[in-house]
């Protein structure tokens, strides 16, 4: 049979980002997919040699505009570990709250893009309308919609008052209640089921073999979540990751839908359990120059991110490295695309929740 090669990207209607795949087809079946990278590579990690460690946090935040809070937090936490800084407890709670809010906004954003990819534009609009309410809270508490610059080594820049925290919980719970209708559509609508169910199945064994992370792994039934390690105060919350077993595109959608209500609940728990200590310190002054190296892990909306930092006692770090979740999920995506129909390619690519900007930096 005649083989055809179809270039997918870098400019493609389904993707806001330049992901490039060469799809090799036999008739309508994809038999191979060859990813190409470099369209969005900036050389961010090398900037560490010319930007002082105190300011590098702003660069790290701009690895990705969707997980910007989590990237800033990961860098700050890692540097605090190298410099043996004791961070005030309130700052750690505030970081957890913002991190879970990032997850809500990221999942809503993705559900919208996913809906757009399977041709449900109305649902795309609904998700993004809901997302704006989360961004409003971000703007009110940090001053930014997308890039917050609220983390610094030694704590956070802004406090949220106790009354405001209570108001945020109420607001998020209302959001969660109004989202249940949208969530029901994602989980039960026959047209979505028809389009996604049984498409792009990643079995539990395969998910292990290709090292899938985040919602991708959890949709295949792997109980894996960095939050389970209990770091960053997650040990003080009741937390059990959302699992699905089908491993298809629908399961990956459902995991993210449920994680939104889970994150709302985690924020409620955090506000309940954090000490009512308004006005308590939220940052400590950090002096001196860092020496040593550290690995730091966080659970981002897309999965586990790993940072490696090596400091050599000068104001410039020697090495900064991030292994982002999309990078870990690309082998799984390539595996799923092989053997599928051409028309299913956009859905499979979207359901790994690709963040090319994170991957290429």
């Amino acid at each position: 049979m005649k083989r055809t090669t179809i270039p997918f990207g870098p400019q493609h209607p389904v993707l806001p980002e330049p992901l490039v795949l060469d799809l090799i087809l036999e008739d309508e079946k994809v038999i191979d997919a060859i990813p190409t990278i470099g369209y969005i590579h900036r050389g961010l990690e090398a900037l560490v040699e010319s930007v002082e460690y105190t300011e590098f946090g702003y660069v790290v935040e701009r690895i990705c505009g969707i997980c910007s809070f989590m990237h800033g937090m990961g860098y700050a936490v890692a540097m605090e570990e190298i410099m043996a800084v004791e961070v005030p407890e309130r700052a750690r709670w505030l970081r957890l709250i913002w991190a879970e809010m990032s997850r809500i906004h990221s999942h809503l954003l993705w559900l919208g893009l996913g809906a757009d990819a399977f041709g449900f534009e109305n649902l795309f609009m609904h998700c993004w309308r809901t997302r704006e309410e989360v961004l409003d809270i971000f703007e009110k508490t940090t001053g930014g919609r997308i890039i917050f610059s609220v983390n610094r080594i030694g704590g956070v820049r802004r406090d949220i008052s106790d009354t405001e925290l209570a108001a945020i919980v109420t607001k998020l719970q209302q959001l969660g209640a109004s989202f249940t209708e949208t969530a029901r559509i994602f989980e039960t609508d026959p047209s979505i089921r028809h389009r996604l169910s049984g498409v792009g199945i990643l079995s539990r064994e395969d998910a292990h073999a290709v090292d899938a992370v985040g919602p991708m792994a959890r949709a295949s039934g792997i109980r894996m979540d960095t939050r389970l390690t209990g770091t960053h105060l997650y040990d003080r919350l009741d937390f059990e990751p959302v699992l699905e077993t089908a491993g298809d595109c629908l399961a990956r959608v459902v995991v993210r839908v449920r994680e939104i209500s889970q994150s709302i609940d985690l924020i409620r728990q955090a506000v309940d359990r954090m000490p009512k200590a308004e006005g308590a310190p939220i940052e400590v002054k950090v002096r001196g120059l860092p020496t040593g190296e550290v690995f730091e892990r966080l659970e981002q909306p897309r999965g586990e991110v790993v940072y490696y930092i090596k400091a050599n006692g000068t104001k410039y770090l020697e090495r900064f490295r991030a292994r982002t979740p999309t990078f870990a999920n690309i082998p799984a995506m390539i595996k799923l695309v092989k053997g599928c129909d051409l028309a299913d390619v956009p859905n499979i690519i979207m359901t790994i929740d690709p963040c090319i900007s994170c991957t290429e930096r």
Binding site: P16, G38, Y39, H41, R42, L47, G65, L109, W128, E360
Partner: protein, 141 residues
């Protein structure tokens, strides 16, 4: 102006942006800002587009893509550079794989500042783009 009726179609290309400006461009289309009610449509086809919105800077790899997209757009056409990176390279200006703003490759008509650029300023940039488009139309007419 009768020829041009204030409903430009937009082609969005992500140079090497961090996604921040990209998702703000998309946010312009969604219910809170909803530019589609003015007939502004985000198209994937350069031959249908009047305004090229570019986010992020140019690098070795995407320089040809940006040139290609611009070349394929019909005249008159306008380029709007969205965000600090598209204007000058922004925080990444010194990174080894960043060559600078979009104006290194194609002529830019409107610069939208911000990191990330807010939806309000992106919409303002598009509105100014319409004025530039009309001026170009008058010149060729």
């Amino acid at each position: 102006m009768s020829f041009f009726s204030r409903s430009p179609w937009i082609l969005h290309y992500d140079g090497s942006s961090c996604n921040g400006c990209d998702i703000e461009v998309l946010a312009c289309l969604t219910p809170l800002y909803d530019v589609e009610r003015f007939g502004v449509i985000n198209t994937g086809n350069p031959k249908h587009a009047d305004i090229l919105l570019v986010t992020g800077s140019v690098n070795e790899r995407n320089i040809e893509i940006v040139r290609n997209l611009y070349r394929q757009m019909p005249d008159p056409k306008v380029v709007v550079a969205v965000g600090a990176c598209a204007c000058s390279g922004g925080i990444f200006a010194r990174a080894y794989n960043v060559q600078g703003g979009i104006d290194k490759v194609i002529p830019v008509d409107v610069y939208v500042p911000g990191c990330a650029a807010r939806p309000e300023s992106i919409i303002d940039g598009v509105v100014q783009g319409i004025a530039a488009l009309e001026a170009k139309q008058r010149m060729t007419a």
